[in-house]
Symmetry: C2
């Protein structure tokens, strides 16, 4: 029951379309305010409207696009206030997730976390930002999973996508990557010794720094 966020591709067409659109929005290929016309996207991707509709529905529920009845969907704007709010919410929830993770983590999950941190160490030395972004995501997802709360995992996973649209990979700046590594290690160690309050504090400061603290923006 571990491989929940597997990268295996058992995915349906709608799933693929969803990922492509989400990626497109995150990368700015679909601009804010742009109108997403079902037929157009369907033709671009060589599928019918049905999977496109399902993908759009999913994006709507994740608040990445807004749907106006009978008038189509547009890519939503993310104001800086929105981003500030998301940071605060993440601050609250990631802290709680780390707290629970410290209480409930299994040996296997600890092992996985350790591996991720070690890989982070490796790629930080190599200045490999793209791998670091992936590992960062994986690290946080592991903690959501270890928290044992499917609700918090659900919420944070969906917030994660929203955030990606904004942060132009804060990990690309070298010194930030080093700091980030250190923070991840601290979080890992707190969870390893099942120190819930410490895990929470470390995570909160990590999120605060990565989001609005100083380096980004």
């Amino acid at each position: 029951m571990s491989g929940f966020y597997d990268t295996k591709d058992y995915s349906s067409l709608s799933e693929k379309v969803y990922r492509i659109l989400r990626e497109g929005i995150a990368e700015g290929r679909y601009q804010t305010g742009e109108c997403l016309v079902e037929m157009k996207i369907a033709e671009e991707l060589g599928v019918s409207r049905t999977p496109v509709r399902e993908a759009l529905k999913q994006l709507e529920l994740e608040d990445l696009v807004a749907s106006h009845p009978n008038r189509g969907v547009v890519v939503k704007a993310f104001s800086s206030e929105d981003l500030q709010d998301v940071s605060t919410i993440r601050h609250l929830l990631e802290g709680q997730a780390a707290y629970w993770a410290a209480e409930r983590v299994t040996e296997l999950q600890l092992q996985e976390l350790k591996e991720v941190v070690e890989l982070m160490e490796f790629y930080t030395g190599k200045n490999d930002a793209s791998h670091l972004v992936q590992l960062d995501t994986r690290f946080h997802e592991l903690i959501y999973e270890a928290s044992g709360s499917r609700t918090i995992r659900h919420i944070l996973a969906s917030l994660h996508h929203n955030i990606r649209k904004a942060r132009q990979s804060s990990l690309t700046m070298p010194d930030r990557a080093a700091c980030s590594l250190h923070e991840h290690i601290q979080i890992y160690q707190a969870i390893e010794r099942h120190d819930a309050p410490a895990a929470k504090l470390q995570m909160e400061s990590h999120v605060a720094i990565a989001a609005g603290g100083r380096p980004v923006e």
Copy 2:
């Protein structure tokens, strides 16, 4: 731009199907573990499979049902741990929402809140539980709106549905209703005088009492 959660029925078929299914799950008419077959539901409601599929997709994204590829969706179980976790998360987020609401509320929103509280007073006197449940929902939604954070509104609105499945209307017990009224007044007053920390504290204790404190469970 105020009427966001209007009760007006501009809704599409999929929207209606979604509400019916959500209600059915909350009321236990669709049992946990039950398999929701598209065709069956479509026939029951006299619509085609398309709107049913969209409704199921939405329920899936709200974590009320689980979808197994090519094998249909089943109603998810909500363990008591899940509910405990949801309470904690609500505690965190509702508190933050109240905090922001106290900072950002507009005169119009204050007016609406006041009206809701007055109606609550009225129906508490009449012991009218069903109206009170509606007003409770409205009260909280107004605060989400006043918080100005569409993310928090989004998350809490979706959590609200999850919660309904569990709490067999805690407002049906008369003494609880009276307490609840008092708490709502306290929250309103804190927001009215723009006292963000107080609003947060009041809301947190309100949520704690309503969810896991004593009366329910």
